[in-house]
């Protein structure tokens, strides 16, 4: 036998030494303390070798800069390490369950990514002639057809770059339709449980916002809507399922009342992922709705550039969709309609332009890849699974946490109040911080505002039962621990994160927005 002359013990040596909490470097094992680029960069270093310019005559006169540009210079490995180290401090959907749910990120299937990188989609430029991008244009049109089929609406504007941008687009179409009718309606009704972007969008477009209170069961009361309707009301902005994770049962009655009063019904489509394949917003009386492709159709949120928030429109609003768009004649031939003039020659009245070009191609490819790989039945199942997962979490936690609206089935997300923490000294914030030590990103906290100390959990459709059980087990453990009187442990959390709690109050009262050396 060959002797191994550098033999070493391979079993841990028993020791009484206390586990180290502070180190010479400040690093904790592989969790490395990373300074800012400005602290590690030098002015005399560069990761690239740029040739000195030949002698040239400057045209800057006395305006040429004399002091060096103080941008940090790093070698390539230094730059790589900096960003890889930072990325290791991040929580990501590819690391674990994200109870914030699709609002932030849900699983992005890798097939989508592969499709989006095909050069015919990835390398097109918006100013290429139509004849050279007919495949890409066909893809956008096909995605539009799927969106119309799933929503039961008449028309779709593909160009908005985000959900809130889509809201702006839909509400601008409503405003244009009202102006076209020769009316001056300037009020928009928004329920208390709305996403903050709804009143912001309405206000940005010059509307006055009137709030509609929530009923005790968390939904909107059609009677309260009716009381506020009148000749000055332009629209209502309603989310369904709403931000309490509840389906607005009276939505058809509300839509009818809104239409009878001459107003439009804007649906915030943020939570469309709960009802795809089950309910078509067009059948509920919706006039305009944006679709967050990242929430419902699994594109990355933002996606390395703008996101995508297509807006579907009813017959009544379709003529007001923004330019530019692609139009197909009866033979299926496509044309770009780039200007309001060109649109008006075709009998349309676009409210204007909301983006320079036709939309975010990368998101379109991913969303269509998701649709085609799932099929209509798969999309329906994704909605059902998302709702099932949320109701499973609700059922398994309702004895130790307080479900805000226990009588109603949850949709894709389940809302808890902080009542179960009454008398423990532990707050929703403390509870969330303790989740970080357990290896989970916290859920949405303190929203919606209609519930005290709200905790909103959206597990999404892609978590396995094992993963859900582990998450549920963690929350049950924390709820028990809170009730056992161990408030100090919660106040001290997070203890294991790269940073402990920051002073949010001081940061808000005395913000320092400039890095100083």
């Amino acid at each position: 036998m060959t002797m191994n002359n550098v033999g070493r013990p391979t079993a841990p040596v028993a020791t009484d030494a206390v586990v180290a909490t502070s180190t010479f470097t400040g690093n904790q094992g592989l969790a490395i303390e990373e300074p800012l680029l400005f602290e590690v960069g030098r002015l005399d270093v560069s990761g690239v070798d740029i040739e000195e310019a030949d002698t040239f005559e400057t045209r800057l006169g006395g305006l040429a800069r004399t002091a060096p540009v103080e941008l940090p210079g790093l070698t390539e490995p230094e730059a790589m390490r900096h960003y890889v180290r930072l990325s290791r401090q991040n929580y990501a959907i590819d690391l674990g369950l994200y109870p914030l749910g699709s609002c932030t990120m849900k699983h992005n299937p890798r097939l989508n990514e592969a499709m989006a990188r095909l050069p015919g989609f990835a390398d097109v430029h918006p100013l290429q002639p139509l004849s050279t991008v007919s495949g890409a244009v066909e893809l956008v049109a096909e995605l539009g057809r799927w969106l119309l089929e799933l929503t039961g609406m008449a028309s779709v504007a593909m160009s908005p770059k985000a959900g809130a941008h889509g809201e702006m687009c839909g509400m601008a179409a409503i405003k244009a339709a009202i102006v076209d009718r020769g009316e001056a309606r300037d009020v928009v009704l928004v329920p208390e449980s709305a996403h903050g972007t709804n009143p912001a969008t309405a206000a940005q477009l010059g509307f006055r916002v009137v709030s509609v209170p929530a009923r005790a069961d968390g939904t909107v009361d059609p009677e309260e809507v009716r009381k506020r309707l009148g000749p000055e009301v332009a629209a209502i902005m309603l989310t369904n399922p709403n931000t309490c994770g509840l389906f607005e049962r009276d939505i058809v009655e509300i839509a009818e009342a809104v239409h009878a009063a001459g107003a439009y019904f804007y649906a915030d489509g943020a939570n469309f992922n709960a009802i795809v394949g089950k309910v078509r917003p067009g059948d509920l009386g919706v006039d305009a709705m944006h679709i967050n492709l990242h929430k419902t159709f699994s594109t990355p949120h933002g996606g390395g550039g703008p996101g995508a928030g297509p807006v579907v429109l009813s017959d009544r609003l379709a003529p007001y969709a923004p330019v530019p768009f692609v139009r197909f004649d009866e033979d299926g031939a496509a044309e770009f309609v780039e200007t309001r003039k060109a649109a008006s020659e075709r009998g349309l009245k676009p409210f204007g332009r909301i983006t320079a070009f036709h939309g975010q191609m990368g998101m379109f490819v991913r969303a269509l890849a998701y649709m085609l790989s799932h099929g209509a039945d798969g999309l329906r199942q994704a909605s059902e699974d998302a709702v099932l997962a949320a109701n499973y979490v609700k059922a398994r936690l309702q004895d130790v946490m307080t479900v805000a609206f226990p009588e109603r089935p949850a949709m894709h997300e389940v809302l808890f109040s902080d009542r179960f923490l009454d008398g423990t000294g532990v707050t929703t914030l403390d509870f969330a911080k303790a989740m970080i030590d357990e290896g989970y990103h916290p859920m949405t906290m303190y929203f919606p505002l209609v519930v005290h100390g709200a905790m909103l959990i959206e597990p999404t459709e892609s978590e396995s039962k094992t993963s859900l059980d582990q998450f549920i087990g963690t929350l049950r453990h924390l709820a028990d621990k809170a009730r056992s009187g161990d408030a100090d442990a919660f106040k001290a959390a997070p203890r294991l994160a790269p940073r402990r709690r920051v002073d949010e109050t001081l940061a808000a009262r005395q913000p320092k927005l400039v890095h100083q050396g």
Partner: protein, 123 residues
């Protein structure tokens, strides 16, 4: 001086025709650390139920509604640089503005301290 309370957690202290407006101690406790306050400008006319001031905590931004119609005759400007005063003394130094009322009858629907206390406990 008579003090009244609203269901939106404002207090209003009345002396003659002038009413001092602020948010209740319960409200500041619910909001948490106040980080920003915007008070109305003197001379502004406000209607009953109109948004008159803004108060922001780390958790949320809230509007402060005037329970009475009238004209703003004084504003607590120092709150802008010292929002912490709202937490420390919501029903005293943390007042937002003083309004000269045009219709004191509007006070009749407001709650007194005991009624407000019962209202908060019932929530």
């Amino acid at each position: 001086m008579t003090k009244y309370y609203t269901e939106e957690h404002e207090w209003i202290a009345v002396e003659g025709k002038v009413a001092t407006l602020g948010i209740t101690d319960h409200a500041q406790a619910q909001l948490g650390d106040v980080v920003f306050v915007e008070v109305p400008t003197v001379g502004r006319k406000v209607k009953k139920g109109e948004e008159t001031a803004v108060v922001e905590s780390v958790k949320a931004a809230s509007e402060v509604y005037s329970p009475v119609t009238g004209t703003v005759v004084a504003a607590n400007e120092p709150l802008a640089s010292n929002p912490i005063t709202v937490n420390e003394d919501a029903e005293g130094a943390g007042w937002f503005c003083r309004i000269e009322m045009s219709d004191p009858a509007e006070l009749e629907v407001l709650m007194d301290e005991a009624a407000y206390k019962a209202f908060v406990e019932g929530q």
